[in-house]
Symmetry: C2
Subunit: 243 residues, 2 copies
DNA sequence: TCTTGTGAATAGATTCACAGCT
DNA sequence: AGCTGTGAATCTATTCACAAGA
């Protein structure tokens, strides 16, 4: 097995070459592993035990060369002339993503979105467990949801430590998000999934992923506008260009 | 530490190089324009009328060279030695994103998530208008939400045409998503925002953007695991390797 | 003097195309 | 015969660093 040069972005932890398992998986690859995992689970449910890169790529909606290169970063888990063993690959990807352990997740902000997230089935499925629900509104505190009482944000730090929460989902209004982030980071959390429409300011070493409805809509609008321009506007454009 | 997701699903139409005004704005740039727009709106609210690329970059959480290059794709809207006029830049980015017109959006699936989306304020803000809500469940149909009655999915095609819906948000269970996509595409929709955890199969020319909670959590888990490995694992690793 | 706008350099991701293994 | 794994080529994005202009 080979060893591509893997610089470690923000310093430290030189990895000894003696170690066989190469941890320098590209971000773009990591972002696609969940996709492959879902496709594989679909195949497994349909009783399929072996799959080629071509078929799996179609199921995941990507190019097969890309899929093979992505998987090659995890190791050599395929068989030439045959393909990949579905169950084995599910296991390897799950392990790589850290889904073989359970992550305690806290949701802060139990409005419409927070409720939707708490109820979201796939959430609890494998690897994740909702360990706490928080809200600042006394009217909401105490309400039961997915077998769990909503707690007041006053207890944020204590609960995070006591229940070993390592991932926090922020579903508060924009104005509260930064403050929540500051508090959970101070309590030791380094992974945040942010649904509030603000750019969170966080120290190095803290990972923030942002999910933003209006951003997504705006990107769609951009492309939609272009398509419209191309259809109705081409003649007008042509005129303008003739000048 | 931030990792922008930039998978581009489908579509792509060959563009002519002829035109002086180059409409070939990179996807990565388009994906950041909404971010800049939000940062600019924040500055505008605080009464700031001019901003340098450096300050705007900080507000948006990106590198200033990247911001300048992004903006340069839209045109030369800054003033050397001074910076950018906030209002003017807001207008230019809005125009580029197609937000100077109103897009009629339909939400299909009025469960917890659909409700959250419908109630999401920033949604209706500028450029977008919820024009219809659909659900397949007769118990939900007729319910009023944000001043609008939920309609049965039977009427999907008619309503889309009559109200000029051009963007559809799919917030149905996974099992229903593909079917909904097929129907709205047949009705002429070419922009879909998909919250269901499935890969939608769509023809060329249709843009799909996917928002996926469990994918985001899994990516966080990957990085969280790595951080844990680095801290607690180094000594254990060393032992294992000594063998 | 200050900041934009942009070539040039670097880094990263995707795709091609085929050697190597089953 | 068929499919994986991967160098090499290509394409895309980011960052540097500075000339040009206010």
């Amino acid at each position: 097995m080979h060893r591509p040069p893997v610089p470690w972005s923000s310093g430290q932890v030189t990895r000894r070459p003696s170690q066989a398992r190469d941890r320098g998986i590209p971000d773009a690859t990591v972002a696609r592993l969940p996709l492959y995992l879902r496709a594989l689970n679909g195949l497994a449910e349909r009783g399929i035990s072996t799959v080629s890169s071509e078929d799996l790529a179609v199921a995941a909606g990507v190019n097969s060369a890309k899929l093979r290169k992505d998987l090659s970063h995890l190791g050599s888990y395929g068989t030439r002339g045959v393909g990949y063993d579905v169950q084995y690959l599910i296991y390897q990807i799950s392990r790589e993503l850290g889904l073989t352990q359970d992550w305690a997740v806290a949701i802060v902000g139990v409005g419409n979105l927070g409720r939707a997230l708490a109820n979201y089935g796939g959430f609890v499925s494998r690897g994740f467990r909702v360990a706490a629900l928080f809200d600042a509104d006394p009217a909401v505190v105490g309400e039961r949801l997915v077998g769990m009482a909503v707690e007041h944000t006053d207890g944020l730090e204590n609960v995070i430590e006591n229940r070993g929460v390592s991932i926090v989902v922020i579903a508060t209004p924009a104005a509260a998000a930064q403050q929540v982030a500051d508090r959970v980071i101070a309590a030791g959390v380094t992974s945040i999934l942010n649904f509030a429409p603000v750019v969170l300011n966080v120290p190095d070493g803290v990972d923030v992923r942002k999910v933003d409805l209006s951003t997504e809509l705006q990107i769609l609008a951009f492309h939609e506008q272009r398509k419209a321009d191309r259809e109705t506007g081409s003649s007008m454009m042509a005129e303008a260009m003739d000048a």
